[in-house]
């Protein structure tokens, strides 16, 4: 098994975990923040009561737990794969976040927005055809 093939076999499952947990975390955060109301001020005194309401929300902690799982998977990936590979590869999460926002938050996603997400996924496909690490093995491209 080539070095690049071995890297891809352990890279793909962790990317899958990342593209599910990351968006799910953001959806929970969005649900929590919509319940808080618009944060319009950057003054510390105004932010304190908002922060206490945010921290009391169960959805925030659920979102943070998902994002923590995503972060650990992301860190593991970065020990062997290039940052410039991992970051675009996990952008498949933009497709899952659109689906989850529609299903769980009831957001109406316009055809233009779906088109944008599809173009992002095309970019991901192009990036996915390059080697995960350009420093440990010869690049295919």
């Amino acid at each position: 098994m080539t070095h690049t093939r071995r890297l891809q076999l352990k890279t793909m499952p962790l990317i899958l975990v990342s593209i599910i947990l990351g968006p799910l975390g953001n959806v929970f955060l969005g649900k929590a923040m919509k319940g808080i109301g618009t944060v319009a001020s950057a003054r510390i005194l105004d932010l304190v009561p908002i922060a206490s309401r945010v921290l009391a929300s169960g959805y925030i902690w659920l979102g943070i737990a998902c994002l923590l799982g995503f972060f650990i998977a992301h860190m593991l990936l970065l020990t062997w794969a290039d940052y410039s590979y991992v970051q675009p590869a996990t952008s498949l999460s933009y497709l899952s976040i659109s689906v989850l926002s529609y299903l769980l938050l009831g957001e109406m996603i316009s055809p233009l927005r779906w088109l944008g997400v599809m173009v992002i996924c095309l970019g991901v496909f192009l990036v996915g055809r390059t080697s995960p690490s350009t420093s440990g093995a010869p690049s295919r491209a």
Partner: protein, 124 residues
């Protein structure tokens, strides 16, 4: 204007934070053992690195900016637009981490950015 400032913080602080974390991770080396005890040891080892803490601080700034913008914008708009960090990340990885980014990867990143632009046009 408020949206632009928050997106700037999400993209710049978030990307800079990830680059710092990536630098710390490369210092630890490739992980071969995925047992929970080994992963915990790996996490504790990473927390001893200054780059890790700088990364966490910058990513926290990006995270709080994300929370603020999520209070008045749709998740399906905010998250795709924050993918502007792809371009920033590629330039940062090349300059800061010395990664070689080949032409195919640049093309992919450019297409991702076109997608982000289209999503921005769908802003309500």
């Amino acid at each position: 204007m408020r949206e632009v400032v928050l997106f700037f913080l999400i993209v710049v602080a978030g990307t800079a934070g990830e680059l710092c974390v990536s630098r710390a991770m490369k210092g630890i080396g490739e992980v071969h053992d995925f047992r929970p005890k080994s992963i915990l040891s790996f996490v504790l080892q990473s927390l001893r690195l200054p780059w890790m803490w700088l990364g966490i601080a910058l990513m926290s700034l990006g995270f709080f900016s994300l929370l603020a913008i999520l209070s008045f914008q749709e998740v399906s708009f905010v998250v795709p637009v924050s993918a502007l960090s792809y371009a920033a990340g590629a330039f940062g990885a090349k300059a800061f981490l010395g990664e070689r980014i080949n032409r195919n990867r640049w093309v992919g990143i450019a297409v991702v950015c076109i997608g982000v632009t289209i999503v921005w046009w769908s802003r309500k």
